[in-house]
């Protein structure tokens, strides 16, 4: 048997289903007597709700907050000191705090009829001043989104290192203000749920597109005040998540409440407008940074103030503290910074809640840090990679604790960067820039290098105990392997990579393994798919379960071969002794169906195991990556074409390099979206302005360069096989690399753009401004 284990470029087992149209998403499910729900949502950003008028003839089909008996508000509370707690009612009461907030649930045979009913509901309100800008929101006198807050701030946090002494005599000082736009996580499949009540088991069954079925069950149990035993959450195939499906929100709570009472299945399918404008956005950050350096660009001190627009409510379970607390901890990135200060605020605004999108705060901090590095390089007249090399943590320093106590387990950041610079062809690009283009476009080269803490415990600082991960594995009576994991696949290929790990441990052909995911009734508890944790945690737990299974298989096999267990090997679908072998099917048949063939002292624990795992450091592992790109900027239209794109990635030992490449390609596409296309603008009244995909631009295949991916494989000392998390990484680097490339291209015009996305309008505006200033 050719290896199908660690490192095999195995084709994805799940793709046969997906590519042949047998995937099963929420909208594919059909239940007898199922009815549809549509929601009445707030048309305004901030108002006092004074009344809801419902015509008598539809009153029985409309549900408002006062109908929702026994349901509590959503409270997503960070344990960090000073965190202000928002109460998010599943249906609005008292105040409306963002456009799209749920007000009423309307029920009908079809979605169209439910929308007809929704159109008959009149919402009465007194408008209040909308809090839209996260800087103005913090000023004294700003209207309060939550009346019981002192200020529009969920949390202020930071790292308060002394910087004055280091900054005082620094010969180089660079100050910038940087912004990243509010974005929308855009899986192809929007959110969606079907709720029904099993009257025999007295159990609520919720089918939902989610990244973490077990967490949804826990959240629902709290809000509905229903024991977890009475809730089953099933998530079959999920059409992309990216963080958008890592939430427990009002829609599924309302549906569950309704299903417990109405006697038939009820369904809500989010439409694209709801996804864009109503439920959750991401990534809106503001930075004011001063960096201090010596003449060679060696950083002496770094002083930052950051704000995250957290929207109106703290989303469950990750809370509105997650991004600001990560910003101050990870802004130093892969650099050795001797003096550092960062203050961050999670700001409350009249926008829908903010969720952590692929990479969480890292795409933003990487953007901020890497633009600062390029600004320093320009100021001192050095190549950007030289300034980076002067500051990167080196391989000989590993393991390394940085200034914010981030523990880098392994890796070679300078080598990642040098490889990226070599593969992008720095010297050739500089020569081409000198020659100029026949079409008049300007060429620019940009890069970014970053460190990504992956697979950490429930808190990134590792101080609070993490959730362990468990995986169940069982050899069936016909000798196949049934693996069940509580983590969910949202496209990462876990049905394949977990099977590869199982195959590595038991030597069974992956074709004989089935990995089942996404059902709280069938799998051990898991906190789900987030934080690039799957391959480390669920992969580790799969290995633990399967290694234990392998030892039990070995014992039975040795008994059948009448030899000592120490003399047998479990491999190639069986147990091999000095003078013969038995197959897994033989062993399973003997154990389950012909136990009398076995000696009496066989371990009665049998051929099923739940294995548990946590990496040996709960702060996780650090994946490293460098991105480099060449762009051509049309200074007349503001158009940007990406001519070349290189990613060098070190995610430790790769379980399936082909799947990793796919992850990087997809993440890079989303990062290019952040760099050039994606933006959810709001008007002064807090109205979201991009309500269709004609307005909210996502990069398409025509906009994607042929991304060239290179790997280093530095094993992590802390994980089962030396693997590190990699699912999010591709999305982190492009914002910085592309922005630096555009600024490199426009340098001769005196233009530097400190805001993404870099749209044609922003480029032309900046060029016009530079011309006026000149």
């Amino acid at each position: 048997m050719a290896s199908q284990g660690i490192g095999a470029r195995l084709r994805r087992k799940e793709d046969d289903r997906f590519l042949n149209g047998r995937g099963q998403y929420i909208a594919d499910l059909r239940f007898p007597r199922m009815r549809d729900v549509a929601f009445v949502r707030s048309p305004v950003a901030h108002a006092r709700l004074t009344g809801i008028k419902i015509p008598d003839q539809v009153r029985a089909q409309v549900f408002i907050a006062s109908d929702l008996t026994g349901v509590t508000a959503i409270r997503a509370v960070s344990p960090l000191p000073g965190f202000q707690i928002s109460e998010q009612p599943p249906l609005a009461t008292g105040k409306l705090r963002h456009v799209g907030e749920l007000i009423a649930m309307c029920l009908a045979d079809t979605r169209a009829e439910a929308e007809d009913i929704a159109a008959q509901v009149t919402v009465e309100y007194e408008e209040l001043p909308a809090v839209v800008d996260m800087l103005k929101a913090q000023e004294p006198g700003a209207a309060l989104v939550h009346d019981h807050f002192k200020r529009n701030v969920f949390l202020e946090t930071g790292f308060d290192g002394p910087i004055e002494a280091a900054a005082r005599n620094a010969p180089v000082k660079v100050t910038r203000e940087l912004r990243t736009a509010r974005q929308v996580m855009s899986p192809i499949e929007c959110r969606g749920f079907i709720a029904l009540w099993d009257s025999r088991l007295e159990q609520l069954i919720l089918h939902g597109a989610t990244q973490f079925p077990h967490v949804v069950r826990t959240g629902l149990s709290q809000v509905l005040q229903l024991p977890e035993l009475q809730i089953r959450v099933i998530s079959s195939d999920v059409g992309g998540g990216f963080g958008y499906k890592a939430i427990v929100a009002g829609e599924e709570i309302c549906l569950s409440w309704l299903a417990m009472r109405c006697g038939y299945p009820v369904r809500w399918l989010e439409d694209r407008r709801e996804q864009l404008t109503a439920n959750a956005n991401c990534r809106e950050h503001h930075y004011a940074i001063t960096a201090y350096a010596d003449e060679n660009g060696k950083l002496l001190a770094f002083d930052a103030r950051a704000a995250v627009d957290s929207g109106a409510y703290s989303a469950y379970p990750f809370t509105s503290a997650i991004e600001p607390s990560q910003v101050s901890a990870i802004l130093p990135g892969p650099y050795e910074i001797p003096a550092y200060r960062c203050k961050t605020a999670a700001v409350v605004t009249n926008k829908c809640p903010q969720l952590p999108y692929r990479g969480v705060a890292r795409p933003n901090v990487c953007y901020a840090m890497e633009l600062m590095i390029d600004a320093i390089a320009r100021q001192i007249g050095k190549e950007p990679h030289e300034v980076r090399l002067a500051n990167l943590v080196r391989a000989d320093q590993m393991p390394f604790n940085n200034i914010t106590d981030k523990h880098f387990d392994s890796g070679d950041y300078p080598q990642l960067l040098r490889t990226a610079v070599e593969e992008i062809g720095l010297a050739k690009v500089r020569a081409r820039q000198m020659r100029g283009e026949s079409d008049g476009r300007l060429i620019g080269l940009g890069m970014s290098v970053f460190s990504e803490q992956t697979a950490h415990g429930t808190t990134a600082d590792g101080k609070r105990r993490a959730l362990y991960e468990q995986v169940f594995a069982r050899i069936t009576p016909d000798g196949r392997l049934d693996v069940r994991a509580g983590i969910q696949s949202i496209g990462q290929g876990l049905e394949t990579t977990l099977a590869q790990i199982a195959s590595e441990c038991i030597g069974i052909d992956t074709g004989k393994i089935q990995v089942k995911l996404g059902d709280t009734e069938l799998s051990p508890y898991s906190s789900g798919a987030w934080g690039s944790r799957g391959i480390v945690w669920a992969g580790g737990a799969t290995a633990r379960a399967c290694k234990e299974l392998a030892s039990r298989v070995a014992a039975i096999g040795a008994a059948m071969l009448q030899t000592d267990v120490k003399s047998v090997q479990v491999r190639d679908g069986g147990v091999f002794g000095p003078h013969g072998s038995v197959t897994l099917a033989d062993i399973a048949r003997a154990f389950y169906l012909a136990p009398s063939d076995l000696p009496g002292d066989i371990d009665p624990h049998g051929l099923e195991v739940t294995g548990g795992y946590a990496p040996s450091r709960l702060t996780g592992v650090h994946t490293g990556s460098a991105h480099a790109t060449v762009v051509a900027v049309d200074t007349e239209t503001g158009g940007v074409e990406i001519l070349d794109y290189v990613v060098v990635e070190d995610a430790g030992v790769l379980i399936n390099p082909m799947i990793v490449d796919g992850q990087i390609h997809g993440g890079t596409a989303q990062g290019i979206g952040a760099a050039l296309f994606e933006e959810m603008p709001f008007d002064a009244q807090g109205q979201p302005l991009a309500s269709t995909l004609a307005d909210y631009l996502l990069p398409g295949s025509a906009e994607m360069p042929d991304v060239r991916v290179f790997h280093m494989e530095t094993p992590s000392p802390y994980t089962e096989f030396g693997q590190k998390g990699v699912g999010e990484g591709g999305a982190i680097g492009p914002g910085a690399a592309v922005a630096n490339a555009v600024n490199d291209a426009l340098q001769s015009l005196g233009v530097e753009i400190c805001e993404i996305p870099i749209t044609p309008r922003r480029i032309l505006t900046a060029i016009a401004k530079a011309k006026r200033a000149a």
Partner: protein, 280 residues
Amino acid sequence: MKPVAFDYERAASLSDAASLLARTGGFVKLLAGGQSLGPMLNLRLAQPDLLIDITSIPELTAIIDGGDHLEIGACVTHSDIEDGRVPDHFGGLLRQVAGRIAYRPVRNRGTVGGSLAHADPAADWISALSLIGADAVLWSQRGVRTVAVENLVVSSFTTALAADELIRGVRIPKLSPAARWGFFKFSQKAGEFAHTIGGVLHDPARGVFRAVLGAIETAPIVLADARPLFGGSAFDSGIANRIDREAIARLLDGKNVTDDYIRSLAPVALKRAAIQASAS
């Protein structure tokens, strides 16, 4: 979002469509390719009582060679033109334009007449057919009239169509072999509506030198005599270097175009169209 309930009728003939259009008591919309109307229905921006599907009316998919012009039915699709099922008497101009509209699935269903009737200022046909000097053939039970495409589009999403009229087709003048044209459209991503459109057409055999500036948030600026855009100059190989930015600025002033982005793109679009026209 799902549409409001509406009646749906498929008209078998022009007179059939006319009697449906005349049906009183409600808001009636014609459905051709549905590529703009469909999303508007789903978003409930359009809430018609009656939708009349006109795609199976034979006259609306007919292609008639009129000697010096080609008349194509209103329900001819963009891909019919892109793929050459409509004879190319236009030196490739219409095929280039058609092939760059939105995405292929949109081009498979979207129609020329539907695009004109919808009159999105950033759409391609209102600019391209104005550039070439096409006439829209409007039909009602009162009779047939022709209106130049540049006069059909009054402003953003507004046309000169009467309530009982439909676009039967478009009469497009054939270009002579000596004709030269350029058509430039800038979008940030493939398939997106245009940020700017510029077009130049020179057909000396027919005494034509026309230009268009489109995607300006209102009806395009169409010049039947393009010389004022080029400092009064006639068409020649150096025409792209003689663009009169102030003349363009005045035309944009006349249309109340105040957005600096659009104003800065317009001369670029015209220049690039002129380069294409003069290079060929």
